[in-house]
Structures are given as structure tokens and as C-alpha cells.
Symmetry: C2
Subunit: 251 residues, 2 copies
Amino acid sequence: MTAEKIATRLYLPAALVPGSAVALDAGLSHRLRTVLRLSPGASVAAFNANDGEFLCRVAELGRNRGSLTVESRLRAAEPEAGPWLLFAPVKRLRLEWLFEKGTELGVGAFAPVMTARTQPDRLNSERLLAHAVAAAEQCERLSVPDIRPLAPLNQVLAEWPAGRWLIFCDESGGGIPIAEAVAGLPAGAAAALIVGPEGGFTQTELDALANLPFVKRAGLGPRVLRAETAALAALAAYQAIAGDWRSLRRR
Amino acid sequence: MTAEKIATRLYLPAALVPGSAVALDAGLSHRLRTVLRLSPGASVAAFNANDGEFLCRVAELGRNRGSLTVESRLRAAEPEAGPWLLFAPVKRLRLEWLFEKGTELGVGAFAPVMTARTQPDRLNSERLLAHAVAAAEQCERLSVPDIRPLAPLNQVLAEWPAGRWLIFCDESGGGIPIAEAVAGLPAGAAAALIVGPEGGFTQTELDALANLPFVKRAGLGPRVLRAETAALAALAAYQAIAGDWRSLRRR
């Protein structure tokens, strides 16, 4: 594994081409210079979903700018088509935890939705993206999950893409156990999961979700879970049963 | 559900007998009086694993003391024999998350273990218990998970109880996918899960674990998970496939 040789993995959305140079912005330059105490000549790995992961060398490193030279490819680009996660925003600290853990668990896109009982005005996308990037760097993903803009639940459902299943995590006690719901998906199907806000979905929302043809209604056991616990636990169950946990780590 | 009628659930380890009074300690009296702003006559629910859950009424409520009168039984005691979770202590905030979420996910006992790469001296059991109690109150458990004293891994393994399986979450890429490992357990078997410290198990520890007859070696997919993410995700997969998520919430 590259992680054993190169301690630092950086997400760089710019094109990574062996022999070329990549500029570092002020934030990354600061991190390499002041936080990680690297100097020109140090090795780092840089990655993105389009190009894969590359061994790079620090070329210049100033207070607010710097650059890397891209050397050789460590890992080819590969699809990471993780499930979408639809969720109603919760308090800041719990949301940041959700983005960190959801990224580790392979979320393809975070899609915040407004429900009748959602408290609005709490989404700092830039800060949440930073948490997702840090988690992607740590967990050896090549991609960083998309973060969709906050949208009303009924709009998200009305514009639902063909061919993607939605596992509706129903805290009201409806549905079938999630292991059965997930095992019943067609092999390789695109999927998303949705969890409700802290106060739960309203009856109108429950009925709307339950009647959609792309929805599988699933229960998460006998206890009342916090929204972010439900999201992560459902993701883990999905990945274990139908997702990429059916393969193991490269050794 | 009782939760819709009585907003406050209190864990009270004292015997709960209809018609009797139960004393409240200074902490609980403060919480009812100052945080929840309750007065004598208010209804609360009190529970513990031995007796079940009861409708109670606030009898007295002073600054440092108070009492409840136990009225009628809301829910009979029932076994909640959740899996044990063996883990190497991580930093305080991550440990508190683990206790909150692990309690919601039905952990029966938290068993911290010392491994070669564990940083010691970080376990505030009293504070962690408070997190577990708060989560048990919120998620409608009747029991609060046990918290075992920190013990060396090899001692815990040497004293392992007969008949309990140990799912060894192997971040090194060994083992079989966790869904297969868990599905292979005998129906209704007692179980535990173990996750390694941030730096991983040493080769000696990996070999010792892998060779034990009660161990199932399981992988958690292609990404490198933080210790507490691995613990929670493995718990969710276990509960979904072989644990109490095969039943649903009472409606």
C-alpha cells in the first residue's frame, strides 16, 4: 500500500500528468509547510477521481504558494460509484461527523433535503467539503463525494433519476428489516439511502415516500436512532450486503 | 410508544416497584428541576434492565434532592443481549461518539483493550458511562451497556468465555467480507466484535487473533477506516445481518 511509504495524501482536483507541475493554493501550501513541516524534495501522493493517484515531489513551497512535480502513477483511476445519502441537516458537529464517516463509508453524493421538520439555515458547504476531503485523503479514496445543494424533499423525489433505487430508512417502524430490503435490490443497481430529520418524517412525507416505485422501505431495528446514527448504520449495512464491502482491501 | 406521551426517560438503577418512592440524587434532581424545568406532579418514565419501564410522577424536587413515585408499568423487562465491543481507546471526543452511537446500536458491553499500539491513560469511565446512559435514555433501551475495565488484549483473549464468537475486524485486508463472516455464525450465538487501534494491530496480534477457534476474521471493504468508524460500521452490519435489526420497532 502506498500509505506505508508516503505519509501524506493530497486531494488535487487539477489534472495530474507525469512530468508536469501542479500549483498549490495558499491553504495547501500552508498545510505542507507549517502543519506537516515538509520542504522541497519531500514526497507526497496526490489523487483525484479522473486521473488516479501519483507520486509527487514538492518543488517549491512558500508562505502562500507552492508547487509539486508529478512523477509516477501509483494507482489507476477506478470507478467509485458509492450510494447517495439523502438526509435532513442536523446540528453542525453532528453534520461534520456525518460527512467524515459517510465519506469513509463510500458515499458517492451527499444530498441534503428540506423536510417539514427540518431546521433550515445550517449548511456550511465549504466547511463540510473540507471534512469530506480530509476523510477521502485519510481513507484512501480517489474521489471526494459530491455535495448537492439543499433542496426540498418533494423536488428531489420529483426529479429522481431513472434506474436508481432509494432505500427509505423508516424510523416509524414500517418497512422490512434493512438486510432484506437491501438483499432484494437487483445486483449492481445504483442506490441511495434516505433518513429523516430528528423529529421524523410527517405522515404525508411517509406516505409519499412509501408509494414511490423506486423506494424500498426499510427498518433499522427496535431502537430509536439519532438521524446521523441511522444514516451511518444504514450505509454500513448497505455496503456490507450489497455494496463494495463485498470486496476487501488491497494488501 | 411511550416516547410520544412522556418526553423524559430516566435510567434509574434502583428497584422500580409500583406504589413505592425512588430517591433522586443531586445530579438527577438538578437535571429535572433546572434543565427540564419540571415541578412536582410532572410525569416521567423511569427504566432499568431488571424491572422494565414505569410511569412515574415527580413527588419532591429540591436543589440537591428529590423523589419520584412509581405508578404503572409501561414496558416489561426483556433481555437485551447485544454484542460486546472490544476496542483500543482513541481520543476523547471520538471515544464519546463511540459510546453514544454504540449504545444506540445495541452494544451489550464495551470492553477497552490495551494493544501494542494503544495509547494508554485516556479512559474516563465515569464520563463515558454518562454518554452511554444519555444514549440509552434517548434510544429507548431498557439496559445501559456494561463498561469493562481496560485490560491487556492477551488477557481478554486468554479468559474468553465459552460459546461466544469474536468477529475480528481486520483492517490489514485479511479475512472474508463481514457479511459472510456474520452470516456464518450459528443462529442466536453470543457475539463480540473487535477493532484495532489507529495504527493497526501488530503482526503478532494479528496472528494470535487469527488462530483462535472462536474468532471469525472479517474485512470491512476497500477503504481505510478510522477505528471508531470501523467499530460502528461493523456493529451495524452485525445487527442488520445477525442481530436485533432483524426485528422492527414496536409501532
